[in-house]
Symmetry: C2
Subunit: 412 residues, 2 copies
């Protein structure tokens, strides 16, 4: 029986290094440094990693051979010295695929190692009505089209992550409970692997808010972040110490049902006073307009309806402005709580919040600054996501590409 | 300028390995494996780490030479094969020191690498009345007595951590705000280093709840935990993925002011409805007894007063039982929130909760099981701390010993 040293360790991960694994680890180290700091000279890589220059030269040659790095422009570093040729991430032919299954669409997006979008396609579908089997059929076809398109372009995918708005059992590759989709206990990994057959890739299923956080982290590399997705439900992805916080069974980030409303309005979960009854999409629409108002018309795209609200607020409509103010106050209340618990350097608002963000952000920041216990709000800044509705799929693609940064030689 | 690869990385820490550092890393790996799994044969260490047996033999010899490991009892592994001599952690002469500055005492505790208490002393002092300078004088003297005692026993301390109930700026080594002590902006590290002079050790200041969590983690090695300390104020230490969650500026774990009480009772923080007004020590005493009742007499030790409450509950006193029930409900409410956000495998209740724990635990567990969104409470179990009032000092000692597990050769 093999006794694995446990990962749970305040002193950091335990992994043995032999000479073969050292080279692989150093290869990964150089690749991550290029990802995090952009194009660098070999001399700079040597200084930054502490590796001897000949080792760096040899590692860079291997990365170039694998197609993961390339020679960039020549740049003079500092005021003196000769110009150095820069090394940069290449990896045009290596992709990660992210698939978001949302209430109204299946979105497939492939990112190259360099961060370019290599493929993107969205299929409109009423997921709740279609049923899980039909949605998995459709998703498998969309994935197959994506991998075929990548193949024609001379690229290949190293892995795939499926994002779902709900409680996901990542180990089992199953969705436990996704009320927005009407799903309960859907075996996504097994279902897709069956359908994809020989074309199957390493496949992970993860909660959409968590993957949104992975995408935000990839863009800012802030080590401690909370990313809040606002739809009808409210979810969070938490990055802690540069790592996605999953918790003991992968269920972390369930922030929508924090009991924060003293008015104790009933929630879809069966309880009362949940945060999402104060800041979810239904709350803003209910506060801003009567039931027969056009903004409640589900036949109209959400972006359009939010634009109507935005126009009304711009025109000074009192009810709309008061509704936004109330949502901003409640948003600030919950964010301050999360900031007290987690002390993030940044909280990113995604989903529907991005469409009304300019109207609420100042107020949210005020409430957070006022409520957080730590001095200066613990340094927490509140920002809007710039990734829009692609965040979850992008995060899935980034997660899939993570394998390359762990062991470039195995997948290059 | 040296460009350090950033620690913020979803792919794990980036550190270059050369041949010198490999040996150090493998030495640390073997030592951590012995800590986590107890006495092991060299063969088992080789299997577990993936290192060649001759390398393991040489690493073990080095650890024994440093006094960090020793030969344990002989044990037959499995049904067949010859008996193997076991290797175990020794390190009797290597200690970490933890110092807790609490409202009513300064507690100094030294742990050996093997986890034995090598020194322990508590000085009663009304910290709030004495003033920070006098308390640092007293603390420095207590530390000097501890190191002298260790020296006489042939041991030495590799580091020291000071635990304080408040908001700590760990980087600056200063307490920003500790209302329980009446401290604001006290430079603990500088103050102690001045007083200790030549006898000074590597010194860290940390929040007491965080160190309590380090101690709980050291005993159970549950990778995802929340440890709640209950005194007049409520604090939490969070372990996530086997690491202490500090947040971007070290302020994580401020759970006492989550706005959970619809009755909005005023809090010492100036707000209303904070969790600690529902579950803190003042709440249970207020609910259980009138102002002139003996349980409010601060001249009597807290343990005694809680014992009085316990006796009344045992005798079936209705008011006491109702008070306990209300605190249990409110405790469950907040724990469920934290379980939704963090999905810990275990929540540990420390501080005053340990004295009434048997009276509230069942009810707390019921509320948590009922409220947590994830299936089966996300696997979260609620338990009472067994470390009592020594948790913070113990955690400080463990944190100080962490340096040995990072680089055994440097401190052995």
């Amino acid at each position: 029986m093999k006794a694995e040293p446990r990962a749970s360790d305040l002193s950091g991960p335990s992994r043995a290094r032999d000479r073969g694994s050292i080279r692989r680890a150093n290869l990964a180290l150089v690749l991550r440094m290029l990802r995090d700091e952009g194009p660098l000279s070999r001399a700079r890589i040597a200084t930054g990693t502490g590796l001897p220059k000949p080792t760096v030269t040899s590692l860079v040659a291997e990365l170039v051979g694998l197609g993961l790095a390339g020679e960039g422009p020549t740049r003079r570093e500092g005021a003196v010295g000769r110009p150095g040729t820069l090394v940069r991430i290449d990896g045009r032919h290596i992709c990660g695929i992210g698939v978001e299954i949302s209430t109204s669409y299946v979105h497939v997006l492939a990112l190259t190692l360099g961060g370019e979008v290599a493929f993107e396609h969205r299929t409109a579908v009423a997921v709740g009505d279609a049923g899980a089997d039909a949605v998995l059929d459709l998703t498998a076809r969309a994935i197959a089209r994506c991998t075929a398109a990548l193949g024609r372009a001379g690229a290949r995918a190293v892995g795939l992550t499926v994002a779902v708005p709900g409680v996901v059992d990542t180990r089992a590759g199953a969705v436990r409970y996704a009320p927005a989709l009407g799903w309960r206990d859907v075996a996504v990994t097994a279902g897709l692997l069956d359908r994809l057959g020989a074309a199957a890739l390493p496949l992970t299923v993860e909660n959409d808010a968590k993957l949104g956080a992975v995408a935000e982290h990839a863009h800012g590399r802030i080590p401690d972040m909370v990313c809040i997705t606002g739809e009808r439900g409210i979810g969070a992805g938490i990055i802690s110490g540069g790592r996605l916080l999953r918790g003991s069974a992968g269920f972390a980030g369930e922030v929508g049902h924090m009991p924060l409303d003293p008015e104790r309005r009933p929630c879809v979960c069966g309880r009362a006073g949940c945060w999402e009854t104060m800041v979810g999409l239904d709350a803003i629409l209910r506060l801003a307009a009567d039931a027969d108002d056009e903004v409640h018309d589900q036949g109209v795209a959400l972006e359009r309806r939010l634009a109507v609200l935005h126009d009304r607020a711009d025109a000074g409509d009192v009810r709309t402005r008061e509704a936004l103010e109330r949502v901003a106050d409640a948003l600030g209340l919950g964010i301050a709580l999360l900031a007290d618990v987690l002390n993030p350097g940044r909280v990113v608002l995604g989903g529907y919040f991005t469409h009304i963000g300019d109207l609420i952000l100042d107020r949210v920041r005020e409430v957070v600054a006022e409520r957080v216990m730590a001095p200066d709000g613990g340094g927490c800044e509140v920002a809007l996501s710039r990734l829009g509705f692609t965040a979850a799929a992008r995060g899935g693609a980034h997660l899939a590409l993570g394998a390359v940064y762990q062991d470039p030689g195995a997948v290059g």
